[in-house]
Symmetry: C2
Subunit: 146 residues, 2 copies
Amino acid sequence: MTEKSAVEEAVPIGEAAKRSGVKVPTIRYYEQIGLLAAPARTEGNRRLYTRTDLRRLAFVRHARELGFDVEAIRTLLSLQDHPDRSCASADAIAQARLAEVRVRIAKLKALEAELTRMVEECACGRVAECRVIEILAEPHRHGTLA
Amino acid sequence: MTEKSAVEEAVPIGEAAKRSGVKVPTIRYYEQIGLLAAPARTEGNRRLYTRTDLRRLAFVRHARELGFDVEAIRTLLSLQDHPDRSCASADAIAQARLAEVRVRIAKLKALEAELTRMVEECACGRVAECRVIEILAEPHRHGTLA
DNA sequence: CCTTGCTCCTCTAGTCGCTAGAGGATGTAG
DNA sequence: CTACATCCTCTAGCGACTAGAGGAGCAAGG
């Protein structure tokens, strides 16, 4: 340690990755696509992340975990920068995402049911009488599933 | 109609797309990656799909709807061609997929809960007191979700 | 016969959100 | 001073398509 406890504002990208749980190349990628602003650099051209940068990074990570796409996160970040504005659009984005998630869950449950039927009925003999293959081969009306 | 009802074996790619519910470029793509064998062609170099081809196409579509990846479908198709073999690997593939689906469902339910909390608590005032933004900004232990 | 307009052909490049690797510079500890 | 870790930029790849350019074939109407 040279002189930590006192000031020690900014950390290099590896530390930022560790603290945020976002991988190093991913952080650089976010910067490249303009999702995160380019941080300050050292003399030696290395990125230095301040506490503020780290907070944004954590925000992005959390939002990605919730499945928001990059465009949505861009909007959410810019909303965060304007606390006086109405949060109606943030709400709309979250609601839209919630609707998507519910649709996905419903579809996956239908899949689960069909897959369960497949594996339960498979007596694991020859392919000729295999329910898995049979069900897949069945004539199938379009768009029932997925 | 020139002479339909009698023989009328093969259809062009557009018809195949309509009947299978797989889009034209996707059918060509499946051929390109070797998931489907190249069908016969007319003198004028157009693809002609027989009933057998259409059956395979429907099989692939159904499998994709169930979320099997192309590699899994390759295996399932080759199993279908050997009805005398054991169907254990078909069963294994389906079981693996079922496990994946269950994991996805569990994760999505966690997401749903968190998103629901967000939108329910959002009083839709200013961003400053918006729960959606607030929750995203919260310090967050890694890997709880997703 | 000829044009119109549809389907078809091949080929390349783009999508999304990363991830991997090459090839090199910089920083730090022993 | 020499390892070695970490950092830099840049390009290419992943899966499963999708979009578009640029052209050929074909059936039907005038």
